[in-house]
């Protein structure tokens, strides 16, 4: 279908983008890769009056290791993320998850900032960003601020990002200690979205005992969430199959599940448990 009419503005800097968003008072939306927003516009589920294209802002591109963080520019595509040597070396599960997003076209156009700001409840990256305790670097009329991923997602398609704010980059802390991580998902065969996806990060001591676990689940519930009950069940335990199975049973705790044409709520709850177990297993294999 064809979207409703809209105006198009191109920002050449983050400051200009913020200014444009401000001057259109909530009527404008940011266009980055366009792979979440444009489909919604074509279906006329979204009809913004103005699109502010940030695609030409050089500041928003690039990947760098800064101190203990891997900093990923908001305009970095999923393909770039999945192939980058620094990402593969420092945070392999991030590269792995980025390589599993959608299809090739989505990975070549879709951006990290757009993905997280889109807050699709079935998107892959929110789980990984939660498990890695990423922080979003946001620029607005009041200047720059950092929002932890857990405070950023408020609900399905809803984030803490204000109508006149832009995500500049995402900071992924690289764990200092020995750690293992993995992402496992069951994908919708047509869209590639996660019917359930689990990201796990296990911080281990010398003897292989789990000092701290971070587990996040996407796709299954109405938004990506940290599975705290699983984390508690893993803490202080040996990283073995029996512990994983027992802990993964808690994967649906504290989240709300509803069904759709593709999968019932109960089935999604079950998938959350199964893919949490698989991600844990994959992390230590």
């Amino acid at each position: 279908m064809i979207p409703t009419a809209f105006d198009y503005e191109r920002a050449s800097s983050v400051e200009e983008a913020v200014h444009l968003l401000q001057s259109h008072k909530g009527e404008a939306r940011i266009l980055a890769g366009g792979h979440s927003l444009l489909p919604l516009m074509k279906l006329r589920l979204a009809s913004p009056a103005v699109l502010v294209d940030i695609g030409g802002i050089q500041d928003l591109k690039g990947i760098a290791v800064e101190g203990k963080d891997l900093v990923v520019g908001a305009l970095t595509t999923h393909s770039e993320l999945s192939r980058d040597e620094r990402v593969k070396k420092n945070l392999p599960l991030l590269a792995e998850a980025a390589g599993l997003i959608g299809d090739l076209q989505v990975r070549n156009r879709g951006t990290v900032g757009g993905n997280l700001a889109g807050a699709d409840p079935a998107s892959d990256l929110p789980a990984v960003a939660l498990a890695l305790e990423a922080r979003l670097m946001v620029e607005g009329p009041q200047g720059a601020k950092e929002i932890p991923m857990e405070d950023f997602i408020l609900g399905p398609l809803l984030t803490a990002l204000g109508p006149d704010e832009v995500v500049r980059a995402v900071r992924f802390p690289i764990p200092a200690e020995t750690w293992k991580g993995a992402y496992a998902k069951f994908e919708h065969p047509a869209s590639g979205y996660a019917a359930a996806g689990a990201a796990v990060v296990l911080l281990l001591d010398e003897g292989g005992t789990i000092k701290e676990a971070r587990v996040a689940i996407t796709g299954a519930a109405d938004m990506a969430y940290r599975a705290r009950a699983v984390e508690e069940a893993l803490k202080g335990e040996k990283a073995d199959e029996e512990v994983f199975t027992r802990a993964a049973e808690q994967a649906a705790e504290g989240a709300s599940f509803s069904g759709d044409l593709f999968a019932s709520g109960d089935y999604r709850r079950h998938l959350a448990q199964v893919y949490t177990r698989r991600a844990l297993r994959k992390a230590v294999s």
């Binding site: 006329r44 589920l45 009809s47 399905p156 398609l157 809803l158 109405d222 938004m223 509803s258």
Partner: protein, 152 residues
């Protein structure tokens, strides 16, 4: 689509009941409500402009409060037609008093058609929960500020 929702008001049951039945509170607190006109006993014509993240849609339809057993339970019927499709919901709302607080349970059956159903259903359940939350939180704010008693 089945939707279950619970909300606890820190106000007594009668007050919550009155607020939920008040046209003024409904007009102010139904998410995106732009118009709410009485067309019959407990029946209102309404325009709802819903906005969730990038998704927006204007729905024109009817809100009906039926089968009232004050102050225990009633049915809230919602019917709307908009560009993205149609929506219909039949919700049974129950109020229970507990130590001066009121526990509300909403058990709804909702049907969505059109583009929303085929594409949006993945997120509809979550969005419905969100809108219900906004509504009840709004009613609670009215109760706190005493605005709900001003008209009925």
């Amino acid at each position: 689509m089945q939707i279950e929702y619970r909300y606890t008001f820190s106000a007594p049951r009668e007050a919550v009941w009155d607020a939920l039945q008040s046209q003024e509170v409904l007009r102010r607190r139904l998410p995106g409500c732009r118009r709410l006109e009485k067309v019959g006993e407990g029946k209102y014509a309404a325009d709802l402009g819903l906005q969730v993240g990038p998704i927006n849609g204007l729905f024109t339809g009817e809100v009906e409060l039926a089968d009232a057993h004050a102050p225990e339970d009633y049915r809230l019927l919602l019917q709307g037609q908009g560009k993205p499709g149609t929506l219909a919901a039949d919700a049974l709302i129950r109020l229970e008093e507990e130590d001066g607080k009121t526990l509300l349970t909403c058990s709804a059956q909702a049907q969505v058609t059109g583009v929303m159903a085929s594409v949006g259903q993945r997120v509809m359940g979550g969005i419905a929960q969100l809108l219900l939350g906004q509504f009840f939180k709004g009613v609670e704010e009215d109760l706190q500020s005493g605005e709900s008693s001003s008209s009925g």
